[in-house]
């Protein structure tokens, strides 16, 4: 038989996960919506790629010189479907091309070969036929760029070779060779800084995003768990059972943690699928992070776990304190909503900047907000900065202790039964006695 607290936790989890609003909104939706978004992006990307394969390019040669012929050969060498247009009237050609699958008309004006062989700039006219404002239309219109650039490079190399027959063209075009070395906290590794981009992305965007999502959903769950007791008129019965009020609070916190973690895991799985769907075509440079000491040590893992636990408990307790003043689930969500600012602001700011580079007054505000420390600690975990992690955990623990004390006070007094906020007059009032 389950004990009092275990009994409460099981009831909380059952009751919440069977609530369609929570089950669908928090667990199933992230599992469905993100992969669907990823799939939709993939479908459109594939469609753009497919449509590019069918692109044809029209060409009107008014020059008929040797350089123009070479340019046409360059187009053909790159397997571009080429429609050569006879005649000299560009407007008429453009009119004819409307409605066809040709998206670009390249006109080689008279004098093109003459200019290039005389050391002048050869002019080309590129007409893009755009029918709608979409990525696929934009991509189609730039289809002429690659063969033109290839031909241009060929001309440059040939000219350099003629001018400096003893030198490799690369030494003229790109005379300086870079050797990129990353020195990270004293460790040296030969790689360009861009190679760390993936890690920077996960630190700057990943951690704040994960913490933000988890805390917002945890607060919603906790607020619901207390307000639903009021809405369904079960709270008074619960408070007269032979179980301590603090056990009821602990049961609600523990039940909310279980549901919030389920929601966060669902969101992470969904987002992971979404990002891998979108970025599957983007090549990433491999870098040995362990060589730079950029992997999580066992101590970092433990401290990260402690930090997440303290963060979640404080957010849940905060939501429960606020939701105590609600009469039903809807008003609880409204009351808890403004608390999201405490999570969203540090998350957004720390996605783009470190606290140290912010103006001093903003730094002070950021350091006061407890959830800033959650993100700072998460970032510090990756570089093994235990001091920063411990400092953040200490601040979060003090904040959590204060909030838990307030929550316990509310639960152990009659405020849990009588407190409520009237939105009409927006003042705290007590229930009407019968």
């Amino acid at each position: 038989m389950v004990s009092g607290l275990g009994n409460l936790v099981i009831k909380e989890v059952k009751e919440m996960l069977r609530d369609p609003k929570i089950l669908i909104g928090m667990v199933l939706m992230p599992l469905i919506i993100f992969p669907v978004m990823g799939a939709a992006m993939n479908i459109s990307q594939t469609a753009v790629e497919e449509s590019l394969k069918e692109v044809s390019l029209a060409l009107m040669d008014l020059d008929h010189g040797p350089m123009a012929e070479n340019l046409i050969l360059s187009f053909k060498a790159l397997n571009v479907t080429l429609v050569e247009i006879e005649g000299t009237d560009v407007s008429e050609a453009l009119n004819r091309l409307q409605g066809s699958n040709v998206t670009t008309l390249v006109v080689i004006p008279q004098g093109f070969s003459q200019n290039l062989t005389s050391g002048l700039k050869g002019e080309l006219e590129v007409y893009s036929l755009i029918n709608s404002l979409s990525f696929s239309e934009g991509a189609k219109s730039s289809v002429a760029n690659a063969p033109i650039n290839a031909y241009e490079n060929l001309l440059v190399y040939r000219t350099i070779k003629e001018a400096f027959p003893d030198r490799a063209p690369e030494t003229v075009l790109d005379p300086i060779s870079l050797r990129n070395v990353i020195v990270f906290r004293g460790t040296i590794i030969e790689a360009p800084p861009e190679a760390l981009m993936g890690l920077f992305m996960s630190q700057s965007f990943g951690f704040p995003m994960v913490i933000m999502l988890m805390l917002i959903s945890a607060m919603q769950v906790a607020a619901t768990s207390i307000s639903i007791e009021k809405e369904e008129k079960t709270l008074e019965t619960l408070l007269t059972l032979p179980i301590g009020r603090l056990s009821i609070l602990t049961g609600k916190l523990a039940g909310s943690v279980v549901v919030a973690v389920a929601g966060a895991v669902a969101a992470l799985i969904g987002i992971n699928y979404y990002t891998t769907s979108i970025f599957s075509s983007v090549p990433t440079e491999e870098l040995d992070l362990s060589a730079l000491g950029l992997t999580l040590s066992p101590i970092s893992y433990i401290l990260l776990g402690v930090m997440m636990f303290v963060t979640i408990v404080s957010a849940l307790a905060l939501a429960i304190c606020v939701a105590t003043f609600s009469e039903n689930v809807r008003s609880a969500q409204s009351l808890v909503g403004p608390l999201n600012i405490l999570i969203v602001i540090p998350s957004l700011i720390l996605m783009f900047a470190d606290v140290e580079i912010l103006p001093f007054p903003i730094q002070v505000i950021m350091y006061i907000i407890p959830y800033t420390h959650s993100i700072i600690a998460a970032k510090a975990a990756f570089v093994g900065d235990y001091f920063t992690m411990l400092r953040s955990i200490a601040y979060l623990s003090i904040f959590t202790a204060v909030i838990l004390y307030i929550a316990a006070k509310i639960f152990t007094t009659e405020r849990i039964v009588t407190a409520r906020v009237s939105f009409r007059r927006f003042r705290k009032k007590t229930f009407s006695p019968k």
Binding site: M1, V2, G4, N7, K11, K14, E15, R18, D19, E232, K233, T234, E236, T237, L239, T240, L241, P242, I243, G244, E414, V417, T418, K429, T430, F431, S432, P433, K434
Partner: protein
Amino acid sequence: MLKKNAIEVRDLVKVFGDIRALDGLSFQVREREIYGLIGPNGAGKTTALRIIATLIKPTSGSAEVFGFDVVKDSSQIRKIISYLPEEAGAYKNLSGQEYLEFMANFYSKSREAAKAMVEEAAEISGLGERLKDKVKTYSKGMSRRLLIARALMTKPRLAILDEPTSGLDVVHAFHVRRIIKEYVREHGVTVLLSSHNMLEVEFLCDRVSLVNEGKILGEGSPQEIKSRYNAENLEEAFMEATKLG
């Protein structure tokens, strides 16, 4: 030797902001007695029941349940009482059976004891196979029967029932009243209830108090009260006592 009272309420006062919900309420309930508080809305009946159920604290005065003080010994009191609020609900995403099991687990020391309690509740409620369905599919009458069964299955020394048949149709109200009367007689439970329904009070209660504006206007058996005010029924007696008629 004098038998100790189940409930002793003395000069109970409760103030909410500007409202004096209870204004020196005093009454005693004897063990194994069904005692009713009757009065209009806002008379202070629910506030009194909430104080005795240890949900809220009195501003002044005292209340004892089987010798335990409602403020100092609230955790002791919660072990021996069962409180049914007027608008109580059950967890709608649990089945009736799960709800009863959840409640029984707080009162029983073994799995067998909890099982026996749930079986008892199933019999009291008369819900049969419907106990396997989720509470959200129940009608108001079925929910109330489930809640009454929950309140009585623990065989509490004191059952505090706030408007036990509130909002129920004649059939369900009749069933609930019968449950209370039979169960209390059979198991020697003391009951403190509040009601607007004078017929119900006459049928159920051994003694009643007429409550108005947080005070007791009169107390006695329904028969005594009717005789005192020379009234045909409790309704007339109440109107006479409050001079509202």
